[in-house]
């Protein structure tokens, strides 16, 4: 491991992860806020974008960007993700290490202050409200972001399959909520979302690089001490076994069909059987030597892409593939047959070893940039204990053939969704 890390709790429900590494040219700080996924999704989703654009101190967007530009192009970005049935808001600052600063000002300190101001001292009018024009701007841009992600038909098909498969679960809620909810947002709704997030979100702050950790910790502990914290508990519903498979086909004006197959992984928590499932998924449809890639794509030429992905925080496996419409049935059959083979243990020891080696190699290498380290730790926000890539790699290396077969046998088919080339538009 090429970094050392320690964890502290500067405020109730706020975990700070301090990762010391001196080999990089840059450092980064991320603020991650997890909330239960639900009806406030759109108001929550707007927040990181709104907050990172301006602050009380830099109320003008261009002044803010000039300031960041003068800090050698320090980048503060916003994003929203979904981890299990949590919605996670992120504000992420990435900047050059202080040893490259051309004057005596600490870039790290300035960026940490800026992030804290974004979260706690936003741009408000004299009555302490968000400005309507700022809210309208962010509503427009979030709507456009929502729609542009769906321009990619791969993403669109996955999204539709998710809506169908989880129709009666919270997980069907998209990370940005709905277009109608975004459009119905008002300054008041966003303000109350902001207060609620400050008071109830489960927070993780990652600080990575050669940074004065104590001062960053002190900064956030002071700012959070002004908030009446009541961190919320976040739970995700796991359905171990699927019922009768659902099948939905929808037409769209596209050149190539998109087949998405959703499965239940047979688990009741994010940790249960994770190493075995992860290896199984890699062997089945993760890597270039996997069955889906080497057989369904390469040998049978049934699709251009075909891969399986495990989401441990919800206990599901989603298979995505791009197929010519006339090959739809053949492709589905082949994809399911390959899983059958894994269930029966029909894979070589070499294949198993290849998956274990590839995963363990990737986990051990996930530490060669501040971005990669942040991505590694921030996705563990719901886990009670933070673990390094080496810890995960060690677990992968202990997985046996029997465990893989057992994991595969716990998997059940839930939903088959096909977006095919045809007249008539599916719901946008």
């Amino acid at each position: 491991m090429n970094y050392s890390f320690s964890v502290s709790e500067p405020a109730a429900g706020v975990r700070m992860c301090k990762i010391k590494a001196s080999q990089f040219k840059t450092a980064c700080i991320s603020v991650n806020l997890a909330l239960p996924l639900g009806e406030d999704a759109s108001a929550n989703a707007l927040l990181p974008y709104l907050l990172h654009r301006c602050t009380g101190k830099y109320p003008d967007m261009r002044a803010m960007n000039m300031r960041l530009g003068s800090l050698y192009g320090a980048d503060i970005s916003a994003s929203v993700g979904k981890i299990g049935e949590a919605q996670v808001l992120q504000m992420y600052a990435s900047f050059i290490d202080d040893r490259f600063a051309l004057d005596s000002e600490s870039v790290a300190k300035s960026c940490a202050d800026m992030l804290a101001d974004m979260l706690f001292e936003p741009k408000l009018d004299e009555n302490g409200r968000f400005f309507p024009e700022d809210i309208e701007r962010e509503k427009r841009m979030l709507s456009e972001l929502y729609q542009s992600e769906l321009n990619d038909k791969k993403v669109y098909a996955l999204r539709r399959c998710t809506e169908i498969m989880f129709a009666s679960e919270v997980y069907s809620v998209g990370k940005y909520g709905t277009l109608a909810d975004i459009q119905a947002l008002t300054p008041e709704k966003v303000y109350s979302a902001w207060r609620r997030v400050l008071e109830t979100a489960r927070v993780q702050i990652d600080v990575i690089g050669n940074v004065d950790f104590d001062s960053v910790e002190k900064l956030f502990s002071q700012r959070f001490s002004c908030i009446n914290r009541a961190p919320v508990e976040i739970k995700t519903q796991f359905i171990k076994t699927a019922g009768e498979p659902k099948r939905v086909r929808e037409p769209m004006d596209i050149k190539q069909g998109k087949l998405v197959i959703g499965m239940r992984a047979g688990t009741a928590s994010a940790q249960e059987s994770y190493p075995a499932l992860r290896v199984m998924c890699d062997l089945y449809g993760g890597s270039p030597h996997s069955k889906l890639f080497s057989v369904v794509r390469e040998k049978m030429s049934l699709c251009y892409y075909c891969s399986a992905r495990l989401t441990r925080q919800k206990g599901i496996i989603m298979i995505q593939s791009g197929v010519e419409c006339e090959n739809e049935e053949k492709a589905e059959k082949a994809i399911l047959e390959q899983l059958e083979l894994v269930r029966r243990g029909e894979f070589s020891d070499d294949d198993l070893k290849a998956s274990v080696d590839a995963l363990s190699d990737a986990f051990r290498g996930a530490s060669d940039s501040p971005d990669a380290i942040d991505a590694w730790f921030s996705t563990q926000i719901l886990d009670s204990q933070l673990r390094s890539g080496d810890d995960f790699a060690d677990e992968m290396e202990s997985v046996t053939r029997e465990q893989v077969v057992e994991a595969a046998n716990g998997v059940t088919l839930d939903t088959v969704y096909m977006l095919y080339s045809g007249e008539g538009e599916a719901e946008k």
Partner: protein, 422 residues
């Protein structure tokens, strides 16, 4: 064999530049306290190289569009195990890519470096093409090309290139078309391979947790020498005019996408590093998130934060490109032209220049953070015949008047094409 250590004290970076007896240029860039290593074996051969002749040949030969990308796919195969199956035994993560002007094969790993490195050197030097395997690949790549046709972001960009360029092969999609790749034969693949996959036209770069000894031990054993080849690429003289100043395609997307290109024509096929840097800074000043234009377009609801500008240049082509999402791309075009005119009239402020310079400085430093960026930059800079640290060294010498002079010379409205996908 000659080995040179190239250092930059201010950056605190250094690497080995090796002239290998096989004729190949090798770069080894050790990074202390990095877990992984990243190796890339590249040839200066991309989608634009469809008409060329090698030493002594009398006539230029013309090959099917998309053949460089096709060759990339095929090289992974051999008579026995394909390269992916071999990498599966080492745990490395392998890939390859083809761009307009290069093809690169790469892997990244934390352990078993030498085993993976052997595979890389071996398969790139061992072509195996038969009519059967070519036919099968035509099916797979046909699917890939069809998939791209569903991605509006790619279509809007290629449509713009076709609107700007009438003869230069940069107007061709990197992968070619289903029709063009159907003309590819095993013999054509060998012709291209034997021309471009010659050590004198290639380079190898390894960065990260690696030593020159480990690299050379394998390279000495596996690299095959070949007579150096001189390749003459056909230079396609482009008229300054664009083919059409507007092109549109319907995709039924919510917010239209646009790419606006300002074509530049030169008698020399390649741009200098300084020109590229000055132009990038100019584009930052015109359209970056610190610009007056950016602020105004956002306020007028004409763009969102996807808006960006880049200098797009390679052998025989150069263009300034603005792209983004907009409900009214034609209006965006007018605003960009107005802003260019205003800056020409009023000049660039010292503050704008200083912020652009600092942003560039930060960006150059960040380039030395990740092993994949470093290794790929080594290959690109070698093909461009520009030393890796030159960008960092040139930066303090760039002045505001350099940028103003560039502004006078480029971004001519009459040579621009707007591509829109709605």
């Amino acid at each position: 064999m000659s080995t040179e250590i190239i250092k930059n004290e201010l950056l605190g970076e250094s690497y080995y530049s090796i002239d290998h007896p096989s004729g190949l240029k090798i770069f080894v860039y050790p990074k202390e306290n990095y877990e992984s290593s990243y190796a890339v074996f590249g040839t200066r051969y991309g989608s634009i190289d469809v008409c060329f002749r090698a030493d002594g040949q009398q006539d230029f030969i013309t090959v099917p569009e998309g053949i460089a990308h096709f060759l990339e796919h095929k090289l992974f195969e051999s008579e026995e195990l394909d390269a992916f199956a071999r990498y599966a035994k080492t745990g490395a993560s392998a890939n390859a890519y083809t761009s307009f002007d290069r093809t690169c094969y790469l892997f990244t790993c934390t352990g078993n470096f030498k085993d993976s490195f052997e595979i890389l050197l071996d398969f790139v030097q061992s072509p195996y093409f038969t009519e059967e395997t070519v036919a099968k690949e035509q099916g797979i790549i046909g699917q890939e090309l069809t998939m791209y046709k569903d991605i509006p972001e790619m279509e809007v960009f290629y449509n713009m290139l076709r609107a700007m360029y009438s003869v230069h092969p940069v107007r061709i999609d990197i992968g070619g078309t289903v029709e063009s790749i159907s003309e590819i034969t095993a013999q054509r693949l060998y012709d291209c391979y034997n021309t471009f996959y010659n050590p004198s036209n290639m380079a190898l770069a390894v960065a990260g947790n690696v030593t020159p000894e480990a690299v050379l031990e394998v390279a000495d054993r596996l690299l095959k020498s070949k007579e150096p080849v001189t390749i003459e690429r056909r230079f396609f003289p482009e008229p300054p005019q664009v083919c059409t100043d507007y092109t549109q395609q319907t995709f039924n997307i919510a917010t239209p996408l646009f790419s606006l290109g300002y074509k530049e024509t030169y008698s020399e096929p390649e741009r200098s590093l300084k020109e590229i840097m000055v132009t990038s800074m100019l584009l930052e000043i015109i359209a970056g998130n610190t610009s007056v234009l950016y602020e105004r377009l956002l306020k007028d609801e004409l763009i969102n934060t996807e808006f960006s500008a880049e200098y797009f240049t390679g052998y025989g082509y150069a263009a300034c490109i603005f792209s983004g999402e907009s409900s009214d791309p034609k209006r965006v075009r007018e605003c960009i032209n107005e802003e260019i005119a205003r800056l020409r009239r009023e000049g660039i402020t010292d503050e704008q220049f200083e912020v652009a310079r600092r942003k560039y400085y930060g960006r150059v430093i960040t380039c030395f953070n990740e092993v994949d960026d470093i290794a790929n930059s080594l290959i690109v800079s070698h093909f461009q015949k520009i030393p890796l640290f030159e960008e960092f060294d040139l930066l303090p010498g760039i002045t505001k008047s350099d940028i103003e002079a560039r502004l006078e010379a480029t971004l001519r409205e009459e040579y621009s094409s707007l591509s829109v996908v709605i």
